[in-house]
Symmetry: D2
Subunit: 430 residues, 4 copies
């Protein structure tokens, strides 16, 4: 678009004002390293941590108050708790956590009223979710259901030509049982549920889909898929020229049309029916205004080219994920879906569907001290809870959509942010 033109011109003008072109060239050119690297470690022991800090503090830029901030007494005490979750640990990031709700969830799995922990630095966010939860709860709660489960891995195999690719696929399909067994032998909790080939001329992607039970499960899927691939390579008479255990077809850590359509993680849906009186009392707007907003914002989503049409699932997801030890990078793939408002006489039906909810209540970061505490507040730590947790997350997304749409439709949006961030910001908006 035209954007680059103006912005780049400006940039180059600024730079030219600051320094001659030769200096720019010099800045961007490769240079030998001058600084000794820190020594990485996987063994989270106190001496390793402190030694790393000693090294970091040799550098001028690291102030002396950084170490105590990151490596506070509790973190020092709990070092063991982070073992197997990270390497070269230097401490912990502290992200403020608020509590919203409770939100009543009437789910296939979740049943009851949940106080939802949200870790975020964004002013107004917790307050906004709280408001949406109160409105939904006043209306009898959020109906929610996990519809499907399945995390994907996608090894890729390249052949000399399409004939070999076809014969390979033929062999794989005829040997499904053996391959399923090979994958299954690696895991007690996970379960391979689908093995589908996708052919692009001489390249074959195998889509392996797993039910990962209560774990988020990406690691489990990788190991099982590796075993499956090794079984292929050991037995298949049609050998690939080269192959990789993951060939970027599984949508790991990124939104994709494939995952949006076929689901990655848990496909979860939630809804609530709100009457005019509740909208007025709790959300300070009207069904008519909210309907008008959703009509325009759906158009905005369609025209700007988003995957699905929704407002800000990412806010709920990031805040819950950080609070409960989920993989926050998965926000990139989970934050897609469809928010809808269907109006009828005197009430509206409001719903969200998230096809790609990757969450777990065991494994990953769920066992770190504060993640466990946050899951405990929800009553959803440990095995048997991941479906219920997914429904609570979807209900939280729904509450956030309700609240932001109410704020935007009634004109409170700017004010709320202005007011709630006021303590931090003085003089002017940041």
């Amino acid at each position: 678009m035209a954007r680059d033109a103006n912005s780049i011109s400006e940039y180059l003008d600024t730079l030219r004002g600051r320094m001659p072109v030769e200096d720019i060239r010099a800045r961007l050119a490769p240079k030998p390293s001058e600084r000794k690297g820190i020594r990485p470690f996987t063994d989270i022991r106190r001496e390793n941590v402190e030694r790393t800090w000693d090294q970091l503090e040799e550098s001028a830029s690291t102030p002396s108050n950084a170490r105590p901030a990151l490596l506070d007494p509790e973190t020092r005490r709990d070092l063991d708790a982070y073992s197997g979750n990270i390497e070269t640990l230097i401490g912990t990031a502290k992200v403020p956590m608020g509590i919203a709700g409770p939100v009543r969830v009437n789910g296939l799995n979740a049943q009851g009223e949940y106080h939802v922990p949200l870790a975020t630095c964004e002013a107004a966010l917790v307050a906004s979710y709280h408001r949406g939860m109160r409105a939904a709860t006043a209306a009898g709660g959020v109906t929610a259901a996990v519809l499907t489960r399945g995390v994907m891995r996608s090894p890729g195999f390249a052949f000399a030509n399409e004939i070999s690719a076809g014969l390979f696929v033929d062999w794989v399909l005829r040997n499904r049982d053996m391959l399923f067994a090979a994958a299954q032998a690696t895991t007690r909790h996970g379960r391979l549920t689908e093995l589908s080939p996708h052919i692009e001329n001489e390249v074959v992607f195998l889509l392996c889909r797993y039910d990962t039970a209560d774990a988020s499960g990406q690691n489990m899927c990788t190991i099982a898929t590796d075993a499956l691939c090794n079984a292929i390579i050991s037995h298949c008479p049609v050998q690939p020229e080269h192959w990789f255990v993951e060939a970027n077809f599984s949508s790991d850590k990124k939104a994709s049309a494939l995952a949006f359509l076929s689901g990655r993680g848990r496909k979860t849906t939630a809804s609530v029916v709100l009457e005019e009186a509740i909208v007025k009392r709790h959300l300070r707007t009207s069904i008519d205004r909210m309907d008008k907003y959703v009509r325009m914002s759906s158009l905005g989503g369609i025209v700007s080219g988003t995957m699905g049409v929704q407002g800000h699932y990412a806010n709920a997801l990031a805040a819950i994920f950080i609070a409960t030890g989920q993989d926050a990078a998965c926000v990139a793939e989970c934050a897609v879906g469809v928010t809808r408002l269907e109006r009828s006489e005197g009430s509206m039906r409001f719903s969200v569907t998230l096809p790609n909810l990757l969450v777990g209540t065991v494994g990953g970061g769920t066992g770190t001290p504060t993640a466990r505490a946050a899951l405990d507040i929800l009553g959803l730590y440990g095995a048997g809870n991941a479906d219920a947790f997914a429904e609570v997350v979807a209900a939280t997304c729904l509450a956030g959509e309700l609240s932001i749409i109410a704020a935007l439709s009634s004109g409170q949006f700017t004010g709320a942010h202005h007011k709630l961030a006021r303590t931090r910001i003085s003089g002017e908006a940041q």
Copy 2:
């Protein structure tokens, strides 16, 4: 796809095994609330926090060790530091933080070797970024450049028909100077740089783009856009039937084709040239294998329908964002772009371009204690540093792409995850 069929069948079978249909209906039906809500608060004072805990602990599900885990002595001491960043605070989430690098960055803005703090619970992640950084640094470092800047807001206006929409646009374009002034009056740091109408029959979206200086700046943009809209409403002879300060066309908190093409936040690019020897020594693979991998994974991205083609920018972004107080929800919009490998005789040129990098070094969560410490380790806290910070983030993404591609191309991927998560996991993969 066929997926829903099997999964839904399974689900319904499971449920039917567990309970009769009437019970399912009962579970999903609205129910009156039984639990008293906690009282939300914006004033982060000790008594409010403790009172909230008292309420939470009344519920059976919250164990007594949750409060000390989240509301540890340091958090209690630092309550003030979170004021204006959150409401109804109950403590802090502790996310383990590792350190990777240093990575040498030869940027238009960043110059030097940076130790990059990464907050994550994903085993192998810090080790993997560290490896990529060491390889890039051994090659003379990562060349990096911010190309454009601009955060968007997009109010929407609905009219009776396309004639009014057209006359409205005409008025807006003729009154640009007045409207720019109205927006500008709200902020000293930000700067409105573009005001473009987009017409969909009787609906007009105005794309407002801001240079937000060293702040991530979404709040700044909202307030300025609100002022701009109020100026329109006060003076324009063609009044909309209804309008909203943000109509979901700006791509806030979500990936979109519009943002991918025109940039949201900082468009940042980075590259490195690696010789075969360095690839072999630091990455334990060959240029040929990496090239083969990138050819297949690009195809995987294209066929699965991702925005751009890349591996796992989301991992770097989430880990740095949590460490440095950025808005982690923005991972949803930032984690798109293009990773490329261009091979030549004896070496390869490896690059990443991220069109949507939303980061700041002032405001938002950057002032919370551990975020500030993490930015201090980088030497990039405060005004004047956001462009350099963006370049370091892009260099980190590049290091992560290098390392994961090397691991996948050489077959180390599964093993690395298996080994590094071993401390945590016993018995089998999670």
Copy 3:
């Protein structure tokens, strides 16, 4: 983008120069009809056709030479041949048809050398395809394979809530056999191969996929799906609030991520291996130049946000479709896919994959006189030929990609168009 701003300003300025705002308003306002409509007819008899012309010629704008141009003696003679293909016929559009090839196709189904008829008004197009075909044939011909078949219809059903939607899906899946039988009863040639539900909260889309044998088959699918839906409505205890036989989920007449991923029509792939000498002799460029071009053009496709990455499949598709009586509107859905070039020592492997090729050799327009003649030239008219025809179409797309990439990589592109359109255009380029 910034575009609308400038263009709209210009437009409004022009209009303002031409007329006052009130006149614009008047132009755009609704007005009563003044002209008597022509009488539509489905019965393609001479008197109906001539009567329609009499009516058209009453209007001043229709010149007297229009009737003989459109309703020429052959068309008059062949009126019967168009019966059932069109209503209110006034004649025939004559599109110039050239012949390219022969192209050797080594297909699962097509075997031999085919002269391909191309109906187009675009100068240089036939010549360009001819060149690509000659290069591919010199290399031993194009390997081609139909991989999968399946045309989709997607009825949609709306329920009061997700519980009913779930129970509906449950019933549908338990009654598959009956529903398959209901669909199957409507057609001897077609075959329902998949029935998959897709749930969006309270809405259920059923994806019905058919093998339509040698017909393009959309009509066949509609009738079978209608029967399937009626069977559901007659027997299912969970009745929808409303439902539609096609709910815009099937991607009929439009490109979609769903169709791109799962195939609509015939998924067809084709490839050729070219040696340097052939590239030089037939395409007047080098493998190195072509490789450089494909690398840059793939990036262009990725960054501009196309579905798949290819050059101009649409040109081949439109020209063959018009020549052979296919549905030219399907170009909108068929013209997506992936073109790739894989280089090796002294040669390159060049391939195309089209996931959505909708073609037929019976039914539709294939029986109109010139369509039949064109299919006869190919030797592919009638039952048993559609798979072979799809492979010839894919081979033609491949030839076109080869030729345009060669032209663009060698700098001949502009010249070729300039020269071949020269007869038509004098003075300057159109």
Copy 4:
């Protein structure tokens, strides 16, 4: 998806049933050419045409009635008329043309009632458009407006690194006037209106946008862009390593997010307000039913991942394009946009927006005999008419959306197709 699995298995089973694997290998392998190619020609003279037929008829597959069908007396007579539009001509494809309307268009440019020629072999299509036109005309006609104009070309330039790319962009932006002049020197009718760089690390795409006046104009744009590039190469001190006049960023002949957002060709919008009585009388359904349909079909479009949300613009576009000598391949890029229904008390506002309408009333195929006759029936042949023509095309798309939505919402859809194709099809649906 799971699809490939079943379909490929089936395919391979069928093949295995038919022949052994070695035969499949043999079929797909390259083979020497046995058939002498026809001699291509650009000079459309009778002897060339007849000689080509003589060659074609040497092949067994071409029946003796093919020549007279394609090379009828009128085509023989009019050979000159196709000169410059095609090479190696063997005759003309005859596509049946019906007439629909008139449709009243109240456009910025089009004013009056238009009989619209539609060339198609799809039964029910002309009848359906006719019905929609009559409904819209009864309501006072379709309001329509061209909003913006601009056909794109996008040369691409590769550099050694991002520094050179940046300096190149800097030079281009500083030499805009000279470059505009170079482009402008090639054309009297066209006008370069935008020159925007898009940087992807070391690659630069230049987006060149042209107002092509009354021509569709792709050829004009290519020639002007070639001149612009040559001016760059002659004068710019920063030379690219390689460059191409079109690098697949312009979306020529394919739908793209870039074109959908920024417009390619004419961005055109149209609307009509229909009262309940007209919906009932002309469309035999109700506003309520149509609204319910549009709500569900919009969801279908969003979830299946289409560009924009619409029903079947492609049908109108293909039929008009073939009738009037437009480039039918452009259906691939033009058939995207947004169809909307906004309901109010007793009426509904129905609209379409097509961002990418590529049409012309001079040049291309518009001068071939039947294309000219079709444009003459519209009164829109020749210079000064392209904007009006675009508005008539958009109005026709709107009529088609109205009619198909009415048919689907009232359950007439299947019946209409069944009945109107009945003459052609006996025994069962095709």
